[in-house]
Subunit: 228 residues, 2 copies
């Protein structure tokens, strides 16, 4: 049985991954402000970024509460997440919004994984974060409105979204190899009969997990008026 | 009598100035993250930036509550504040911290002006913002610790702080000329007998107000272990 207490290495990895993902998103969103077309949308971007900072703070506090050094828990994920960001630098305001929506969506899937695996206190924390995702609706609405107005955008932005996920999967595969505890945890499907005991079984299961992430990705594309 | 209701042009200007100052600081702090020496200090920077965003949101909501378009109220201050930031780009982590501390200090002085002039609801808002300034203590403590460890830093950082204030005064003088309502409001010293009715009297009074800002600046320098 892989599912263990909240301070199992896999859960700590997952909390560290999410904490750095939130901190990284905070800085990237703020960086993208130069692309915002108006003072008002700059302000909206700042609000989204501040929400990421609040999530980061919550996760950091939880790690400290579990007696873990938060920076140590985040450290293994700095390089892959920074690599994802630098390989997917948005060139326009709409690309930045699509990236935010797709990135937050993938993060949401990981939060749900944490909720399924961790103790009640951590679960409450995760549910608080997920309950806030309504905030991001202006993002999908803005993209959808832009695509409705200029349907030629749909193809280009759909390709962009595809690249975002492709680059994320490539970084995630590297993380899965480097962090076996995390891979084992993510591979754990509560409905499956269990792990076959080989590391390779885990890697295959991780791939299945990623496949399910991309399924949800299609729904997110639709919300933005895009297609996969 | 210049002191009027909260929706007088001078008060609206002051709220718009503070709102854009907070939004601008948010983005500049996030930009400075590349200078942070560790993951932990990056996180501290993100927390400071998020506090600026919260202040921006409060001021923006207040402007909306007064029936004013917040972006219109901020617009006249975008250029001078952006100019200040681009003329005072920090080259190191310590310069970034000194800039934050000095900038927040000047903003605090303006908040106190608002508190003295506006209605009760706006005053409550301002007091909420000022009550939070304890957050920034880690900033002055970090600078002081660095100066204690390497006393040679004091001279260079003191010059930097001087330049920050000099550039701020230069932008502020331009704003005072362009926004006479705001200048009249800021020039208003509750203890003085009143305005002499000429625009020039206002400008002289604004200069006196700036002089009082620089007085407080010395106390802020001392808190960081620097001198004027």
């Amino acid at each position: 049985m892989i599912q263990g207490p909240s301070d199992s290495p896999g859960v700590i990895d997952l909390l560290g991954l999410l904490a750095y993902a939130e901190l990284g998103s905070f800085f990237r969103l703020a960086d993208d402000a130069g692309l915002a077309p108006s003072l008002r949308s700059k302000g909206q971007l700042a609000a989204l970024a501040a929400a990421e900072q609040a999530h980061y703070q919550t996760l950091r506090d939880r790690l400290e509460g579990l007696g873990v050094d938060p920076e140590e828990a985040m450290a293994p994920f700095v390089e892959p997440l920074d690599a994802w960001h630098s390989r997917t630098e948005p060139q326009s305001w709409l690309e930045s919004l699509v990236k935010t929506y797709v990135g937050d969506g993938i993060a949401g899937d990981f939060y749900r994984k944490v909720a399924a695996l961790a103790d009640e206190e951590t679960r409450d924390l995760v549910e608080g974060v997920l309950a806030e995702t309504g905030r991001a609706e202006f993002v999908s609405e803005t993209v959808r409105a832009a695509v409705d107005e200029d349907p030629k955008l749909a193809g280009r932005l759909s390709l962009w979204a595809r690249r975002l996920v492709g680059e994320a999967l490539s970084q995630a595969q590297a993380v899965a190899v480097a962090r076996p505890d995390l891979a084992a945890l993510l591979a754990k499907d509560p409905k499956a009969s269990g792990d076959d005991g080989t590391g390779l079984g885990d890697l295959a299961a991780v791939s299945r997990m990623f496949a399910s992430l991309t399924d949800r990705h299609s729904a997110r594309l639709e919300a933005m008026g895009l297609s996969g």
